[in-house]
Subunit: 198 residues, 2 copies
C-alpha cells in the first residue's frame, strides 16, 4: 500500500498490537485519530502520564500512584482476609460488586508453564511473608474457572498449605439466571457436587 | 471507583472516546498499555508523528505527507476520471481492489444537514475548478448505498450537472455471493430495475 503515508502505516501497525484490535479496527482508529488531532494529543498525554505515574502497589501489586495503594493503606479494610486475583480488572470487578472488605493480592498472570509463565511472577513468597505479618486468617483464591485458573488455584493452595495458611477458593455452580437446559456438563457437574443444604 | 488511580481513569476516558471502543474495551486497553510501557511509548510516538506529518492532499484531500499525495502526482493515473469517495478508508478499499486507475476526491463526510454537516466541507467548488483544469471527462460518485450516501450523491450529481460535468454513480444490485432468498427488498428492487442485457 505505497499510497498510504508511512507514518499512518506505522500508527496502524502499533494500534494492531493492542488486544482485540484487528487490522481493520486499527485502520479505522488510525484514520479517526488523524482526523481528530486534539483527541490524539490528549490520548498520547494520558498514556504518557499513566505510564509515568502508575506503579504496582508494593504490598498487593495492584495499580497505584503511591508506593502503597488506597486499599492496602485503608484502615477500613480487613487484613485477616486476602483475596488472590489474576489481574487488576478482576479486583475492580470484585470492588464494583461491593461484596468484599478484605485485602488483595494481584498475580498479574496465571501459572502457565507452556507459555513460559512461571511461579516467580506471582510473588507468593511475598504473600506468605505478608500473611504472617498481618495475621491473615484466610486466603481466598479467586482465579477464574478456566484450565489455567484451576491449575494456578491448585498450585497456590498447595503452596499456602505447606506454609500453614488456610486457603479457600470461589464456589463453582450455576451462574445467576442460568437455565439448566443450556448449561454445559462441567458447570452442571460442579453445581451438583458442590450442592448446599437448604 | 476511588481505588483506581486518577491517571488510569483519565486514560480510560480518553480511550472510550475512540469509535467502537466501549467502556469495557477502554478499560482492557488501558490495563494492557500500563503493563506494556514500551508499546505504550511507541504508540504515543506514532500518534504524535502521524499528527505532525499527515495533512490532506491539496488536490484530492486524501491523507498525504507531501502537499500533494502520490496518487495526484503520479503520471500513471488517468486525470480524465475522478472518483468521489466519502472517506480515506473508501479510497483505500478501491485501491486495494486494484480496479480503478483514475484519480480521487475525498469528501471527508457526507451531506447531512441534520448532523450539521453542510456542503461547504465537501470542497465541491475546488473539485469543479480541478475538473475543468484537468479536462476531466467523468466524475464517478462512489458514496455508499446508505440514506446519507444517496442524498449526497444526488446533491453532487445535480451540482456537477449545473457545471456541465458528466457524473455517474456506482451500480446497485446483488453483492457477490448474494442469495436472493436472504437479500432485502431494496437490494432486490435495485437489482431488478438496474438489470443489464446478457
Amino acid at each position: 500500500v505505497q499510497y498510504l503515508p508511512q507514518s499512518i502505516q506505522k500508527l496502524i501497525a502499533e494500534l494492531a498490537k493492542l488486544p482485540s484490535i484487528g487490522n481493520r479496527s486499527a485502520e479505522r482508529l488510525a484514520y479517526y485519530l488523524i482526523n481528530n488531532p486534539s483527541l490524539s494529543l490528549e490520548l498520547a498525554k494520558s498514556m504518557h502520564l499513566a505510564g509515568e505515574q502508575v506503579q504496582h502497589c508494593k504490598t498487593c501489586y495492584f495499580f497505584s500512584e503511591q508506593p502503597q495503594c488506597p486499599i492496602c493503606s485503608s484502615e477500613q479494610r480487613d487484613s485477616s482476609l486476602i483475596c488472590i486475583v489474576e489481574k487488576p480488572a478482576d479486583l475492580i470487578a470484585i470492588e464494583q460488586a461491593g461484596i468484599f472488605k478484605g485485602k488483595y493480592h494481584v498475580l498479574h498472570g496465571l501459572w502457565s508453564p507452556l507459555k513460559g509463565q512461571g511461579t516467580e511472577e506471582m510473588k507468593l513468597d511475598q504473600l506468605i511473608k505478608r500473611a504472617k505479618a498481618e495475621n491473615t486468617e484466610e486466603v481466598i483464591i479467586a482465579t477464574g474457572a478456566t484450565v489455567e485458573g484451576e491449575a494456578t488455584a491448585l498450585y497456590i493452595g498447595q503452596f499456602l498449605g505447606e506454609h500453614q495458611i488456610k486457603a479457600s477458593r470461589l464456589a463453582q455452580g450455576l451462574p445467576k439466571g442460568g437455565d439448566l437446559e443450556y448449561l454445559d456438563d462441567v458447570t452442571l457437574s460442579n453445581a451438583l457436587s458442590g450442592r448446599t443444604k437448604i
